[in-house]
């Protein structure tokens, strides 16, 4: 990983579960040292990839943190505590302290109870991070929509639904992100969003909820070879393959 890997730029770094299952490797090495910008989706993608490799027999994970101390701090906080067999290669330097940019560190959710705890944790920490009520309610709505979508449509995913939420240090946007690696190739994203709209699915309701809360949001969805982005209206484009669903919502703040 190198450079700016925020938002949709993170999609390309997901481990493909089919390849992970086929490879008998002992070590997963994550070279994050040249990353210059990271956000919640970066952390969700990394954590999902780690979980996937561990589920497929990888015995050790080495994580080379970003050299830039600010980016290191952001990613360290967004990644949260990693599984025990993961090592941060820091050459004796201490890991950064917790800052006020992580709302929910990347967490693998495997059932509704996990999703409920995540939602409640967002509410619990919101005050410390000075999020307004509208903002944390919106963040919870996104976490619940992404999490529910993943639990239903990627129930066979070995990494669960990884959810992460944080405050983007440069723009101060609140980012809620999810990755599930649960397949989904062949899904027509335009049809899926339209279906979600008519059947009151969670994803398509997010813009309406934001409107009621008078918040400006941007949404990014990717599955298979399709991508959809919403700022004022949905725009669709083809992209290189993304294993499973990836989603992120930004609450844009002025």
């Amino acid at each position: 990983m190198a450079g700016d890997v925020r938002g949709r730029l993170a999609f390309g770094h997901l481990v493909d579960p089919k390849r992970a299952a086929g490879e008998d490797r002992d070590l997963l090495a994550i070279f994050a040292n040249t990353i210059t910008a990271a956000d919640a989706l970066t952390a969700a993608v990394l954590r999902a990839s780690i979980e996937e490799c561990l589920a497929n027999g990888t015995k050790k994970v080495d994580y080379m943190p970003p050299i830039d101390p600010k980016v290191d701090q952001t990613l360290e906080n967004l990644l949260g505590p990693l599984p025990e067999i993961c090592s941060s290669i820091r050459d004796g330097k201490p890991a950064p302290h917790r800052d006020r940019h992580a709302i929910i560190p990347a967490t693998a959710i495997r059932d509704e109870e996990g999703l409920e705890l995540t939602a409640l944790a967002i509410k619990a920490i919101a005050g410390h991070l000075r999020l307004s009520q509208r903002e944390w309610e919106m963040a919870i709505a996104a976490a619940v929509a992404f999490g529910t979508n993943g639990l239903i449509h990627a129930s066979h995913s070995t990494c669960g639904v990884v959810i992460c939420a944080g405050i983007e240090p440069r723009s101060s946007a609140i980012v809620v992100a999810a990755a599930d690696l649960g397949g989904g190739s062949g899904i027509n994203l335009r049809d899926a969003i339209e279906r979600s709209r008519t059947k009151l699915g969670g994803l398509a309701q997010l813009p309406l909820i934001a409107e009621r809360k008078e918040l400006h949001i941007a949404l990014h969805l990717a599955v298979g070879t399709e991508e959809a982005n919403l700022r004022n209206r949905w725009q669709y484009e083809a992209r290189s393959n993304v294993p499973g669903w990836c989603a992120s919502m930004e609450i844009l703040r002025t």
């Binding site: 509704e112 919870i140 709505a141 529910t148 239903i152 009151l200």
Partner: protein, 186 residues
């Protein structure tokens, strides 16, 4: 009037999936079959997704269609759940009775329906369509249309008036807030 409480907190503090919504709807339907009125309590519920709420509303409308004699109110809505509920009600073009501080108000629906419910509440008990039409100064067919909409989700219930000498007449009622006093969890 027998009133039953359906405590949605039993399904969790975060009500997200349609499956959970269907389970809650089963309980609601059961309660409706065994009572004259139900209180849907959201006390302690932090988040209710549109999908969850949609399952409940679809079932409510189905269960109350036809000659409805049961009243339904929701209560204990926090701001977020209230917004989500309004969103779903608008999508489905429905309304619900909301019990808030011992008053029954409309959530969702048009101004005319809110005005109709407010006027119906003023009777403080059973009333006839003609009486309400007179109070609202609207024509009877117009009022029947409003009462039909309010009946869809149990905001107003009706029972056949057995004393009517000519044709079929109904007695209408709204939810009696005093019946719910000891039911709602704190």
């Amino acid at each position: 009037m027998s009133v039953r409480l359906v405590d949605l907190r039993e399904f969790g503090r975060v009500l997200a999936t349609r499956e959970k919504g269907r389970n809650a709807a089963d309980l609601i339907q059961e309660a409706l079959e065994e009572s004259d009125g139900i209180v849907l309590s959201f006390v302690g519920v932090e988040v209710a997704s549109p999908s969850f709420l949609d399952e409940i509303l679809i079932r409510l409308r189905g269960a109350l269609s036809g000659e409805n004699s049961r009243v339904v109110v929701v209560t204990g809505l926090n701001g977020d759940v209230s917004e989500s509920l309004e969103l779903v009600l608008n999508h489905r073009k429905m309304a619900l009775a909301h019990l808030k501080k011992n008053r029954v108000e409309l959530i969702g629906g048009s101004e005319q329906l809110a005005e109709t419910l407010a006027a119906a509440n003023e009777f403080g008990g059973p009333f006839k369509a003609t009486e309400l039409a007179e109070r609202l100064k609207v024509k009877l067919p117009n009022l029947h249309q409003r009462l039909k909409s309010l009946g869809e989700t149990g905001i107003v219930a009706r029972t056949v008036d057995s004393t009517a000498k000519k044709g079929r007449r109904f007695d209408y009622r709204t939810f009696d807030a005093s019946k719910a006093k000891n039911l709602i969890p704190s």
